[in-house]
Amino acid sequence: MAARANTLAWFYISPLVLVLVPFFVLPILVVVIASFMESDGFGGMIPHLTLANYAAVFGAELTLRLYASTMKFALLTWIFTLGIGFWIAYFLVFHVRNQLLAIGLFLLCTIPFWTSNIIRMISWIPLLGKNGLVNSSLMGVGLIHQPLEFLLFSDFAVVVAYVHQLTIFMIVPIFNAMARIDKRTIEAALDAGASRYEIMRYIVVPLSKNGIALGSIFVLSIVMGDFFVVKVMSGGGSASIVSALFEDIAVLQYPSAAAAAVVLLLAVVVMISLILRTVDVRKEIAR
């Protein structure tokens, strides 16, 4: 009887297993195995177990610099997307009285996503470039006399592009969490004598916490795993963890790339588990 129930349980989860094993578990396994092999220098791998790849990753000063740089982008992007996303969601949920209008405005936020990521990024160039819209208008009104160099192909540009791309990932989960807040609890807090700030601090933020955590996971994991935005928007001036890893692949150094990938994976897992410790995201999804 127990055996039969067991078989049945396996049967129920088989669709998930059929997707997860070939598309998730196996690739990761391949990467992990590759990270312990030796490279023959021409794109091939010698099946000889070694820790040299990891030693190289941890030994290089470059690794530290890459992590510092990527963490800096991740942190800045997180701060700005959280700030902007929180207030947009707050506005949509609590200040737009008409629900239809709120949903309409919410959909407006997704319009930039109707074009490709690359186009969206490239469209910053005429805006932020040396002779771009921002510089020429600032010079036109006489605020500056020389074009601002830092606008494009800089860390500034990288963060702008990230924030532009990723704010929606903050808005959606926070909007979702806020929409579940019973408006009468806000009124009850007001009745109890809470100021706007206290309502925000004691009621709105705690009740949106799960949405904030979910959005943070999206934003941080995307920034940590990105190399394209850094490459294009910094004009090659900055590097990220993944861009270094990508260069390894370009020169056919698969094992060292695999080792770097495994280390990054672990770093992201640690980061996400830290976020998950502060909130119960399962509750958010199950509710």
Partner: protein, 367 residues
């Protein structure tokens, strides 16, 4: 005149939402320490009045005085009112104790001090053992008590309750009703309670205010409202009365004879100062428990009684009494509540012809 701190006066307040007039010129005194119930169907403006007293809505015009001072435009804290919301609006992420202590927290009280006050309050509502639970893990009645404790902890001078019992099931509602009254006595402050349940209003209130379409129809103590309704609307809304429509056909001393279709003239006493023209359509109210059913063969009704010949349409046993539904005279219901023992000493059947009779003096002429 000195006014108590919880004395409320509404002077000509009205409220419009766009085109809709929700409250249409309301004047009312609520004495300090009274239990006042606003009673009316949904959409009659009773909740809007409550929210205006609370400070969650501003009147379009008129004055609201609490303890003698005009409070229009002041926030709830400055009014020293507290509101208990329909469905309670407890903070789902805070424990029962933190919920109750919340108003003190935003008043800047330290944790130890406010938790002590909250625990005292929880004792009063008999929830001490649940202080650490989250509201989601409480029953409806327990949530209601948490909401009451949270509203009362700041020692407001007026406590406003928006349909506080509507989310509870019947039995609990009656139990919590007693609890509310007990709390009101214990706290000694003015309670203003909004409800659409007439039994709730008359069981609780010192002052019942019956509303219709933004206007007060009648305000008075429970017994007066129930036994001497002012007009057809109040009589029918409170229940317990039969309203018969007819025409004034004659007058005699202080009495008027009301002619009904297919019935002899019914005699009713005119209140002093009331005038009725001959032929004017009038409504007559008779309490359901004042009606005595006789068999036609029992002979004529005594002097000073009114009588109507009718037929039994349906009979419902209600435990304490038997509800006998009689063939309606005109529109509306015509019902007699017969004491259980009286009914079963000579049980009548559906379809029987009966004489419904009552002491003429006990009937009322409605406005």
């Amino acid at each position: 005149m000195t006014v108590g701190k919880g004395h409320i006066e509404l002077a000509g307040i009205y409220k419009r939402f766009g085109e809709v007039t929700a409250v249409d010129g309301v004047n009312l005194h609520i004495p300090d320490g009274a239990y006042c119930c606003f009673l009316g169907p949904s959409g009659c403006g009773k909740t809007t009045i409550l929210r205006m007293i609370a400070g969650h809505e501003d009147p379009t015009g008129g004055e609201i005085l609490i303890g003698g001072e005009d409070v229009v435009g002041l926030p709830p804290v400055a009014r020293r009112t507290a509101m208990m919301f329909q469905s309670y609006a407890l903070f789902p992420h805070l424990s029962v104790r933190e919920n109750v202590a919340f108003p003190l927290r935003v008043r800047g009280q330290g944790q130890a001090e406010r938790f002590r006050a909250a625990d005292e309050m929880l004792e009063k509502v008999r929830l001490s053992e649940l202080a650490h639970r989250l509201p989601g893990h409480l029953s409806g009645g327990q949530q209601q008590r948490v909401a009451l404790a949270r509203a009362a902890i700041t020692q407001p001078r007026v406590l406003l309750l928006d349909e506080p019992l509507s989310a509870l099931d019947e039995q609990l509602r009656i139990q919590m009703r007693t609890e509310l009254r007990r709390m009101q006595r214990e706290l000694g402050i003015t309670f203003v309670h909004v409800t659409h349940t007439q039994m709730e209003a008359i069981a609780l209130a010192d002052l019942v205010v019956v509303m219709e379409k933004g206007k007060i129809k009648q305000a008075g103590d429970a017994r007066e409202i129930y036994s001497r309704p002012h007009d057809r609307y109040v009589a029918e809304f409170l229940g317990g009365q039969n309203v018969l429509s007819g025409k004034a056909t004659g007058a005699q001393g202080g009495n008027v004879t009301v002619g009904l279709q297919g019935a002899a003239g019914l005699c009713v006493t005119l209140e002093p100062g009331r005038r009725v023209a001959l032929g004017e359509p009038v409504d007559l109210a008779v309490r359901r428990d004042d009606i005595i059913l006789r068999r036609p063969e029992a002979g004529a009704v005594p002097e000073g009684w009114s009588a109507l010949n009718t037929r039994i349409k349906a009979i419902e046993y209600q435990g304490l009494f038997v509800k006998v539904m009689l063939d309606a005279v005109g529109e509306g219901e015509f019902v007699a509540y017969v004491a259980e023992r009286d009914f079963f000493s000579d049980p009548m059947q559906m379809g029987d012809i009966v004489v419904a009779s009552w002491v003429a003096e006990r009937s009322l002429l409605l406005a």
